[in-house]
C-alpha cells in the first residue's frame, strides 16, 4: 500500500525486475568437507512477460485521449501501464548492462506507418531474431506496424534516449477508481518525444500511437540525429520510402491533432448559461424554463403542451408534503395561455413506470406496505382490549390472539359483529366535499342530485330485469323412454337446426327430406 497522501505523487527512474524474462537454468552444487562434491542438481525455469501483445487491463491510461481531437502541441503522448516493471522485463539488446527499456511509444501518421493487425508473429519480427526470441510457426499472431528506415531514423528514440522516456509514477489511489484494483498505485509510464501537431495549413492530422517492442532491435534505432535546433520545423508527411521495417505493437490508439482544443481552451470556449439559455432563440423557452412540445391528446387531437424537466432556470418553491398524487392526471395543469402543462404528470408517470419495471423495488415496496398496514391495524386495535397495554405482553402476539378471537365472534354472531351494512361506495373521510361533487357532476354531465344520491346514501341498483326461471332438468333416460312426449322440445329444436342447415346449404327445407315426420320420435329412433 502506498504511503502517499491524497494528491501526492512520486517518480522513480525505473523499477527493475530481479530477472528479465527468459529461460533460466539453476544449478545447485554442494561440497562436504572430507567427503567431496555431491552430484549437482539442475533445474530449468522460465520467467514470462508480455512479449507481443498486452491485455487491455494492463493499460491504465493513455494521453492524448483515444479518438479525441485537440491541440496536443504542448503535451507529450504517454501510456501508463499497470505493471510497473513491464518496460524492463525484456532486453532491448542481449545482456544489456544499462538495463534499458524494451518498449517505446511512437506517434506516426498513416503515411509514415501502416498497421497490420492480427498477423503471424513470424512476420512481425525479422527471421534472424526468431531463434533468439523463441518464435516458431506456432507463436500465434500479433499486431505490427510497417514503416521505413527514414521514418525510424527521424522519429524513433536513440539508444541513449530510451531510458529517459520511461519512468515509474507512484500515485495515491485512495480517492480514485483505482482504489482496491491496484494496491501499490505504481504505474510504468512510457513517453513519446514527438510533439503531435496539425498540418502547417491548419488542417487536422490523424496520428496513430503505437507501443512497440524493441526487443533485440537496438541496432535499428538511429544513433546520430544531428545537432539539436531550437525550432520544431514544419510537420512532414511526404512519402518516406519503402516500408521495410516491422515492429510488434502491444497497444495502440488514434487521435487527431487539430488547431486548438487542449483542456483549457475547450473549457474557455464553453457556452455558459442557465438552463433555458438557447442561442439563436431555438427552441422558444418560456422564462420559467418551459418548452412547448408537440402533444397528442386523448381524443387524438394534435396540440402543443408545455413541458419542463426537473432542471429549471429558477428556484421552484417546494410543495408541502401530505398530498401525494395517485394518478398522473392529478398533476395535469392548464397554463395561463390555455395550453396544458404536462411537466409533473410526465414526472409522475415516469416514476411509476420506473418502479413497475424494477421487480425488486416493487417487491420491497409491496412487502413494506403490507407489513406496515398490518402493524397499524394491530396498533389501532390493541387499546380496545381493556388492560392489554398494561400487561406488558408482546403486542404482535396479542394482535394474533385478538384476530383469532374476533374471527370466532364474527362466525358466531354476524349481525352483532358487523353492524349495519356499509355503503357500496366506501369513500374515506374528507374525500368528497360538496365542491368535489359538483365538479364530478359537471365533469360527467350528470345531475348533481343524482351524483349526491350515488355517492352519499343510495345503494346502486345493479340488478337488471328479472330473467324467467330456467326449467328444471330432472329427467332421466328411463323417464324419457317411458314418456316420449317429453322429447317434444328436443325434436322441435332438432327440426329447427336441420332446417337452418338446409337453408345454409342452399336446399329447400320444405321438401320431404326435411319433413318433421321423419324426425325420430322415441329413444330407440334416436339411438337405434
Amino acid at each position: 500500500m502506498s504511503d502517499l497522501d491524497t494528491g501526492e505523487f512520486r517518480l522513480r527512474s525505473s523499477v527493475l525486475p530481479t530477472l528479465p524474462a527468459g529461460r533460466y537454468r539453476a544449478e545447485l552444487g554442494h561440497t562436504i568437507d572430507g567427503v567431496g562434491a555431491v552430484e549437482p542438481v539442475t533445474r530449468t525455469f522460465a520467467v514470462v512477460a508480455p512479449q507481443f501483445a498486452l491485455s487491455a487491463t494492463e493499460v491504465q491510461s493513455v494521453f492524448p485521449p483515444p479518438n479525441s481531437e485537440g491541440s496536443y502541441g504542448t503535451r507529450l503522448a504517454q501510456i501508463a501501464l499497470m505493471r510497473r516493471t513491464l518496460p524492463w522485463e525484456r532486453e532491448v539488446t542481449p545482456n544489456d548492462a544499462q538495463r534499458r527499456p524494451w518498449l517505446a511509444l511512437v506517434v506516426l501518421t498513416d503515411a509514415e506507418a501502416a498497421l497490420r493487425p492480427g498477423r503471424p508473429v513470424t512476420e512481425a519480427v525479422p527471421s534472424s531474431l526468431h531463434a533468439a526470441l523463441g518464435i516458431t510457426e506456432t507463436s500465434g499472431t500479433c499486431d505490427h506496424i510497417e514503416t521505413s528506415p527514414a521514418v525510424v531514423a527521424r522519429t524513433f528514440p536513440r539508444p541513449d534516449e530510451l531510458a529517459l522516456l520511461c519512468h515509474v509514477r507512484e500515485v495515491a489511489v485512495g480517492d480514485t477508481e483505482l482504489a482496491g484494483a491496484d494496491a501499490d498505485g505504481q504505474l510504468a509510464v512510457v513517453l513519446c518525444a514527438r510533439v503531435p501537431r496539425p498540418l502547417p495549413s491548419g488542417e487536422k492530422l490523424v496520428y496513430g500511437a503505437y507501443l512497440i517492442s524493441l526487443e533485440h532491435r537496438l541496432d535499428v534505432l538511429p544513433t546520430a540525429t544531428g545537432t539539436p535546433v531550437p525550432g520544431l520545423g514544419p510537420v512532414q508527411v511526404d512519402p518516406v520510402g519503402p516500408k521495410t521495417l516491422r515492429f510488434p505493437v502491444l497497444a495502440r490508439w488514434r487521435f487527431t491533432a487539430a488547431g486548438h482544443g487542449d483542456f483549457g481552451s475547450i473549457m474557455g470556449d464553453l457556452h455558459v448559461g442557465g438552463l433555458g439559455t438557447a442561442p439563436g432563440g431555438c427552441p422558444a423557452v418560456a422564462p420559467s424554463g418551459h418548452v412547448a412540445i408537440a402533444h397528442r391528446g386523448r381524443r387524438g387531437e394534435e396540440a402543443a403542451a408545455w413541458y419542463r424537466g426537473p432542471l429549471t432556470p429558477r428556484e421552484v418553491v417546494r410543495r408541502p408534503a401530505g398530498h401525494p398524487l395517485f394518478a398522473a392526471d392529478q398533476a395535469r395543469a392548464i397554463a395561463t395561455d390555455g395550453l396544458e402543462d404536462l411537466s409533473y404528470a410526465a414526472a409522475f408517470e415516469l416514476g411509476r413506470l420506473l418502479a413497475m419495471s424494477d421487480p425488486r423495488f416493487l417487491a420491497e415496496l409491496l412487502t413494506w406496505r403490507r407489513e406496515s398496514m398490518a402493524a397499524a391495524t394491530v396498533a389501532a386495535t390493541l387499546p380496545l382490549v381493556p388492560g392489554v397495554t398494561d400487561l406488558g405482553i408482546d403486542p404482535v402476539a396479542a394482535g394474533q390472539q385478538l384476530t383469532v378471537a374476533v374471527l370466532d365472534r364474527m362466525a358466531t354472531d354476524l349481525d352483532a359483529t358487523f353492524g349495519e351494512r356499509i355503503p357500496r361506495v366506501d369513500l374515506p373521510p374528507g374525500f368528497a366535499s360538496p365542491d368535489d361533487l359538483s365538479d364530478i357532476a359537471q365533469g360527467y354531465g350528470l345531475d348533481l342530485a343524482t351524483v349526491k344520491r350515488i355517492v352519499r346514501d343510495a345503494l346502486i341498483d345493479v340488478a337488471g330485469p328479472q330473467l324467467p326461471p330456467a326449467p328444471a332438468l330432472e329427467s332421466s333416460f328411463a323417464t324419457l323412454a317411458a314418456n316420449p312426449a317429453l322429447l317434444g322440445h328436443l325434436r322441435a329444436e332438432l327440426r329447427r337446426h336441420v332446417r337452418a342447415l338446409a337453408v345454409t346449404s342452399g336446399l329447400d327445407p320444405d321438401t320431404d327430406r326435411f319433413n318433421p315426420g321423419f324426425a325420430p320420435a322415441t329413444i330407440p329412433d334416436l339411438y337405434g
Binding site: Q78, T312, L350
Partner: protein, 275 residues
C-alpha cells in the same frame, strides 16, 4: 372472554382509522435508497431532462436548479405503484410526510456511500447542478468537480456521465463558485508554447528552450533536453516536465494551478538543491 369483544363493531371502525395513522415502520432502506436515486434523476431518460437539443448545444454548460416538485411527483408515481385501493392510498397519504423526510435524508447518503465520507444528518434543501456537454467530458474522463459557497464546500449529490460527452452534476446547496479541473490521475508532461515553433520548460533559473532534432517532424532531442535541464535520470527529467492540471472556475476568480507538487524523490535533491 366475550366481554372483551362486546364492542366488536368499534373494531371495524378502528381498522379503518388504523390506515389513517402514520404509525408503523418506515420503508426499508432499499426502498428509500431507490427513491433517493430517483430524486437524483437516476434512470431518468435524457429526453426528460433536456426536452430539446437546443437547450444543451454542443460545447455548452447549463446551470440549473432541481425542481423538487418534479422529482417529488416522480417519487409519488413510484410509491403509487400497486396502491390501487382506497385503504392503500389512505395509508400512503398518512405517511407521505414521513417518507419524504426519510428520502430527503437518504438523498445525501447516495453520494456519501460512494465516496465513503461521513455526512452530517440533515434534510437536503435546495439542490442545484449543471449539465456539461463538451469534448472535455469525453476526452478527460474523471473530471474533478467542486463547488463552494462563501468559501464553504458545497457537497456533490451526484456526478455522472449520462453520455460519453454529457456530464450531470448535482450539488447539495446553491454554490457561488464551481470548479471543474483536469483529472489528476492522468498526470501529463509537456512544455510551454512561447510561439508556434518554439517550446520552453520553465525552471528556477529561467525558461529553457526545448531542443529538437534537425529535419525531423517535431521530435524532441530528449538527451539534449535532459542535459539542458541538468536532469540526471528519467525521474528528474519527468518532474521538470510535469504540467499542472488545468482548473476552470465559474466565477470571477482567475484560473490558477490547483495544486503544487510536493516532491519526495531522493535523486531530485541533487538537481534542485544546487539551484
Amino acid at each position: 372472554m366475550t366481554a372483551l369483544y362486546s364492542s366488536a363493531a368499534a373494531v371495524s371502525t378502528q381498522l379503518q382509522a388504523a390506515a389513517d395513522t402514520s404509525s408503523g415502520p418506515p420503508p426499508p432502506p432499499a426502498v428509500l435508497d431507490w427513491l433517493a436515486r430517483l430524486r437524483l434523476l437516476d434512470g431518468v431518460p435524457f429526453a426528460y431532462l433536456v426536452s430539446d437539443a437546443g437547450l444543451l448545444p454542443l460545447e455548452s454548460i447549463r446551470f440549473a436548479f432541481l425542481d423538487r416538485n418534479w422529482v417529488d411527483a416522480a417519487v409519488d408515481g413510484a410509491l403509487a405503484a400497486g396502491a390501487g385501493t382506497i385503504r392503500e392510498r389512505t395509508h400512503l397519504r398518512a405517511r407521505h410526510g414521513t417518507i419524504r423526510t426519510a428520502v430527503d435524508a437518504a438523498e445525501r447518503e447516495v453520494w456519501a456511500a460512494r465516496t465513503g465520507q461521513a455526512w452530517e444528518p440533515a434534510a437536503a434543501e435546495v439542490v442545484t447542478g449543471f449539465l456539461l456537454r463538451s469534448r472535455a467530458v469525453a476526452g478527460w474522463p474523471g473530471l474533478h468537480v467542486r463547488a463552494a459557497r462563501a468559501g464553504q464546500q458545497v457537497r456533490p449529490l451526484r456526478i455522472e456521465r449520462l453520455a460519453p460527452a454529457v456530464l450531470l452534476v448535482l450539488f447539495d446547496g446553491l454554490p457561488d463558485e464551481v470548479v471543474i479541473e483536469e483529472p489528476r490521475q492522468g498526470l501529463q508532461l509537456g512544455f510551454e508554447e512561447p510561439s508556434p515553433d518554439r517550446r520552453e520548460v520553465p525552471g528556477p533559473a529561467g525558461a529553457v528552450p526545448v531542443p529538437f532534432r534537425p529535419g525531423a517532424p517535431g521530435v524532441v532531442d530528449v538527451a539534449a533536453l535532459a542535459a539542458a535541464l541538468g536532469a540526471t535520470s528519467p525521474a528528474t527529467l519527468a518532474i521538470q516536465l510535469v504540467q499542472l492540471p488545468y482548473r476552470q472556475v465559474f466565477t470571477g476568480v482567475p484560473n490558477q494551478p490547483s495544486f503544487v507538487p510536493s516532491i519526495s524523490l531522493d535523486d531530485l535533491d541533487n538537481a534542485w538543491g544546487a539551484a
